[in-house]
């Protein structure tokens, strides 16, 4: 036990003396979560809008008022002509424009077909789609309200409820994602670098000649990163809950246990990488290319897995992060218990066992 303790203590010295490591360990999660929480967001607020109103009647004015009364649009002003609007688009002064044809009010009450045109700046297609969807929804709402007042005989209203995330807050998506990426980074990459560093510097050989048991060397070096992973997970969840109002509907205990399982899986991956190489550079590249990129791109953190081409969908199954993100979303947002995530848990556990066994085998062949 004492041997284990001194190896752990030594690893903490290494971590605390290296400012770059500290920055990655604590700066990165903080920056990422704040960035994703505040800066990068799918919600759109205050998009500037111009209106070409050829009617100028009550209906058209009310409609514009409706649009600008929402948080989504800011009324930039009336434009006289199509050319003027195009000019405003080119200058980047507006994101959307609304064209109202003449005689809107008359046509509306006489049941004539009327058309309103929405123009959006699609240099950013996602924003454009969202804006147009928002505007259409608001206009439809307004239209139904007006017809309602007239007692139209038939109408179908749709009522939408977004389950688990009624306000469609993007932070609900990002907190589990950032947590997964950070834990992967701390556990797998930092561990693989810490282990290969000893090999590169030649101190690993000295440790192996010493009475220290090889498993103790590895476990002792890995425990600090396990602890730091837990600290980071706590930090991220706390920030998510306190700053962004991220809910944790399910059991905290289950959340903790699943997090431990994911950290262990990542640690095993880090150890596995370190058994394949003797250089810190290679270990870092392998971690980045083989772990971080798939974790960010194929885990469903940013891009939905359902809309990926079939081969990538299949590939995503071997990414541990995918399963952990599903588990996190289930526990935090849906509030379900273990009976709903046992399958994902089992997959993660299988991966953990596989990586561990493979590492042990590689380690042994190296020593023979």
């Amino acid at each position: 036990m004492r041997q284990l303790r001194i190896v752990i203590l030594k690893e903490f010295y290494h971590i605390l003396r290296d400012s770059r490591t500290l920055l990655i360990l604590f700066g990165l999660p903080l920056v990422q979560i704040l960035l994703f929480g505040f800066a990068i967001t799918n919600e759109i607020k205050g998009a500037k809008m111009a209106v070409v109103d050829a009617s100028g009647d009550d209906i058209s004015r009310e409609m514009v008022q409706r649009l600008t009364a929402s948080d989504y649009f800011i009324y930039q002003g009336r434009a006289g002509s199509r050319e003027e609007v195009l000019h405003l688009f080119r200058e980047g002064k507006i994101k959307m424009a609304l064209f109202i044809p003449p005689n809107l009010q008359r046509d509306f009450y006489h049941g004539e077909a009327t058309e309103i045109q929405l123009l959006a700046d699609a240099t950013d297609p996602n924003t454009a789609t969202t804006l147009v969807n928002y505007a259409t929804a608001i206009i439809n709402d307004y239209q139904l309200e007006k017809l309602d007042a007239q007692d139209a005989p038939f109408q179908i209203k749709t009522e939408l409820t977004m389950r688990y995330n009624p306000l469609l807050k993007s932070v609900y998506l990002f907190v589990p994602g950032v947590m997964t990426v950070i834990l992967m980074l701390v556990s797998a990459m930092m561990t693989s670098i810490a282990l290969t560093r000893e090999k590169e510097l030649g101190t690993m050989e000295v440790l192996l000649v010493s009475p220290l048991q090889p498993p103790f060397i590895i476990i002792g070096k890995v425990i600090p990163y396990f602890i730091l992973g837990m600290v980071n997970a706590t930090l991220i969840v706390t920030l998510g809950v306190l700053v962004f109002g991220m809910p944790v509907q399910g059991s905290w205990l289950l959340l903790g246990a699943e997090t431990i399982l994911f950290i262990l899986t990542s640690l095993a991956l880090g150890i596995l990488i370190s058994t394949r190489t003797d250089s810190q550079q290679v270990a870092m590249m392998m971690s980045l290319m083989a772990l971080m990129l798939p974790t960010i791109i194929l885990s469903g953190f940013i891009f939905p897995i359902e809309s990926m081409p079939r081969p990538l969908q299949l590939l995503s199954n071997i990414i541990p992060a995918k399963w952990f993100i599903i588990i996190l979303r289930n526990i935090m947002l849906k509030g379900v218990g273990f009976d709903f995530v046992w399958r994902e848990t089992l997959i993660l556990f299988g991966m953990f066992s596989f990586f561990t066994l493979l590492s042990i085998r590689n380690f042994k062949t190296r020593l023979a």
Partner: protein
């Protein structure tokens, strides 16, 4: 008493025979020089004796224990200083001493005493709290050697300990080796500085996985009719190329 006895010790990697039936013994308190060109098999031989690698065949005892069955007991009784610098540069002098002391199971109370004793012997009290990385290479090397023998091993393996060190520091380093040998510590040292070979009590020279020459420097000079170790080394190296 023999601290190392090797009998037909062999290591094969597939078809390649890295160490081919070497037999030799090293007496207690002796400075034993283990020489050979790169790839001659000395590193592999040393890895087998230190328990890092399992022999393919042959027998050997180190510090009185069998290298197949009692690797763990051997590890407690040997010291090791690697070719690469074996201390941690981002730990202070005393943290390094305490870490390796702990690794070799020196008890906490003894360790404190031992640390201050070692620091004063080396004259490093002033820099005890300095990171090892900022010390001059000569000091580091001496510190590494002291740390390698702080648990009073029967035998210490030094793998090219003076690589890249200036001649003055090398001299001082050899003085430390002599002092340790006088206290009864057996020294097993590899080097490719031939002048250092002359400092050894006995030398073995390896070529192609075999021991090509074994004896005191005096004996070898007579046997090979050569003026110094360098000439003997060249003779053996040439011989191994033509063979």
């Amino acid at each position: 008493m023999d601290v190392i006895t090797a009998d037909k010790l062999t290591k094969r990697f597939g078809d390649f025979v890295a160490v081919d039936q070497i037999s030799f013994s090293v007496k207690q308190g002796e400075i034993f020089g283990f020489l050979g060109a790169n790839g001659a098999g000395k590193t592999t031989a040393m890895r087998m004796l230190t328990g890092l690698s399992r022999p393919t065949s042959g027998q050997a005892q180190v510090a009185g224990f069998d290298i197949y069955r009692d690797v763990e007991k051997i590890k407690r009784r040997i010291g090791y200083m690697s070719q690469k610098f074996s201390l941690y540069e981002d730990l202070t002098v005393s943290e390094n001493i305490e870490f390796y002391g702990g690794v070799y199971g020196i008890k906490a109370r003894d360790l404190r005493l031992k640390t201050s004793q070692l620091l004063s012997e080396l004259g490093l009290q002033e820099v005890a709290r300095t990171l090892v990385g900022s010390l001059p290479l000569g000091w580091k090397q001496k510190l590494a050697f002291s740390v390698a023998i702080m648990h009073d091993p029967a035998l210490v393996f030094l793998d090219e300990p003076t690589g890249g060190v200036d001649p003055i520091t090398r001299r001082q380093f050899w003085e430390m080796i002599y002092q340790a040998a006088d206290r009864g510590v057996t020294i097993f040292v590899t080097t490719h500085y031939m002048d250092e070979a002359e400092y050894c009590d006995r030398i073995s020279m390896m070529a192609n996985g075999r021991i090509a020459a074994l004896g005191t420097p005096q004996e070898l000079r007579e046997q090979f009719q050569a003026p110094d170790m360098n000439a003997i080394f060249l003779k053996i190296a040439r011989g191994s190329q033509t063979a």
